[in-house]
Amino acid sequence: MTFKSGLSSARRVRFGWACEYVPVGGAIVGAKVGNSRVELAKHVLLWTIVVLTFYPFIFMFITSLKTQSQFELYFWQLVRPFHWENYVFAWARVAPYIANSIIVCAVATTLILVVSSMSAYVFARFAFPLKEVLFYAILGIVMIPGTLTLITRFVLVKRLGLLDTRWVLILPYVAGGQVFSILFLRTFFASIPEELFEAARLDGASEFTSCFRIAIPLSMPILSTVAILNILAQWNDLIWPLVTITSEHLQTIPIGIAYFRTSIWQPETGQVMAAYVLTSLPLVVLFFASMRTFIEGLTSGAIKA
């Protein structure tokens, strides 16, 4: 089958623009474009990759419904009766960690968005003395490895009396997270037509109003991408909370569950897996709530050097 016969004009219309370059891309894997066998092979390949990627998580879920003896006797399969009470056990232990992670991420990410929007806004729209120097001062942070500053930052927060509080996580997260956020947002703000701000100024808007009522509302897709990338980084951070948080009731998810298995509760394998499932859920839920904007933000090509 040739390329042309593979695509009727009706399909061309139905799929619009996207159809235009998909078939050409097909050339990369098999020269016979439009060959449905090639398409099938691609699906098989992609499904294999998807299944292999997901298998540990599927295994986690299956095991989370088992007692220890079910786990040892029926290692691979899903067996009845399902022991949902594993989740009750796990929830009682991990709920505080989840709450802590949510509080820290919510506050830190909100602050990052506000602080970096403001900086990105002025870098995108104004010329002012020292602009270049200040911009490179921000860019330069990217080069400083986190491990270099880990120790001295620890000593600093200890002297500031921040150890073992929520602020010890939030403030450094904002300081570090704003760097990439400013770089992304600056590019986006610069693409907003100057006329919009001009019009606002004529109507008597202050710069503050222009930033928060024009620039930010217009940048929602990129803002949500920036937010999710920051949340991901904070949600997964392991080392910093490990060294700065000692109180169990302030601990975040990563450290909470890292030592859950060997904790004083001596959980069974199924209960440990239930805890892993529960701690995995919040971001998945958040993602499905904001999926469209996030994928659009990522695939719009905002992330490139």
Partner: protein
């Protein structure tokens, strides 16, 4: 009239610095001060609190000539990083190409959603699950080997000094869970339609088109990922901290963990800072080399 403009200009500039103030207060306090302080203390015998004695370059001398644990750890880190960068580039680009070439728009979207999901599960859960996979008795790896009759190959994956490092490399197989695929896919979708049409006319298919057209045009993304891979690879030690503590022996020790142990276990914060400075210098050098020698797509376009 002129005076008013000037005053307005000043007014506006005041505003600019006010907007920038929160950013720079935070940067100075939590990024620049610790960085400068780390460089300063790398010349000291320092426990972070009381002991603070200037010892010149002694820390650096120890790093270069005496610390064999660090030397082992650098070798391990290089192996891990070489492998990680390799599969971290090849697999996502390959999958992105396959996805890009897929005809069904709906399926393309479904795969994209599926492939981004693992990135949302906390990294620590992934690590701990792989820890379970490598368990000697009820680990998935050994159970699988026994199930297919290769039980003799079963072993304590993370406890065997000969295989522990390779077990860490294999973690995350098939190495596509993450946003890498999405980023490369974005790069491919940004290739101008005319370029792809030309390929078709000139008969550039498959491998040839990939190396001559696609790869140069997504070089920007590749470069970024290589830099991020270096930066992450040189300092990373989360997996080792959680799963192996650098062991058995020093089989999976990496520089980041040597730094961490020195700072928080042995109280040698000056020495740990010196290790940090060495990492910093290495990262600077590599980033510079990457910028200089890996050409970006735009440069390619301009040349040809």
């Amino acid at each position: 009239m002129k005076r008013r403009t000037v005053r307005r200009e000043i007014e506006r500039k005041k505003f600019v610095y006010l907007f920038l103030a929160p950013t720079f207060v935070l940067l100075l306090l939590f990024e620049y001060y610790p960085a400068v302080s780390a460089v300063y203390h790398s010349f000291f015998d320092w426990d972070g609190f009381y002991v603070n004695r200037f010892i010149g370059l002694a820390n650096y001398r120890e790093i270069l000539f005496d610390d064999w644990v660090l030397r082992t750890s650098v070798a391990n880190m290089l192996k891990l990083m070489a492998f990680g960068l390799g599969v971290g580039l090849v697999m996502p680009i390959f999958v992105a190409e396959v996805l890009f070439s897929l005809r069904s728009i709906r399926w393309k979207y479904i795969y994209r959603v599926l492939l981004v999901l693992p990135a949302l599960i906390p990294g620590i859960v992934g690590m701990l699950l792989w820890g379970y996979i490598y368990e000697p008795t009820y680990g998935l790896a050994n159970q699988l080997l026994r199930a297919v009759g290769l039980g003799s190959l079963a072993r304590e994956w993370l406890g065997d000094p000969k295989v522990a490092l390779y077990a860490l490399m294999f973690m995350g197989f098939p190495w596509v869970g993450g946003i890498g695929v999405l980023i490369y896919l974005a790069g491919l979708q940004n290739i101008p339609q005319e370029v792809l049409d030309c390929c078709k006319l000139d008969g550039a298919h498959g491998i040839i088109r990939f190396f001559k057209v696609d790869l140069p045009l997504i070089m920007g993304q590749v470069k970024l990922n290589v830099i991020m891979g270096f930066i992450g690879g040189i300092q990373g030690f989360g997996v080792q901290l959680i799963l192996t503590k650098g062991g058995p022996g020093f089989a999976t020790m990496v520089p980041g963990l040597v730094l961490y142990d020195n700072a928080f276990k042995y109280g040698r914060m000056g020495y740990a800072s010196a290790i940090g400075v060495c990492m910093f210098v290495t990262i600077m050098g590599l980033t510079y080399a990457n910028m200089k020698y890996l050409k970006s797509g735009i440069e390619y376009q301009a040349k040809s």
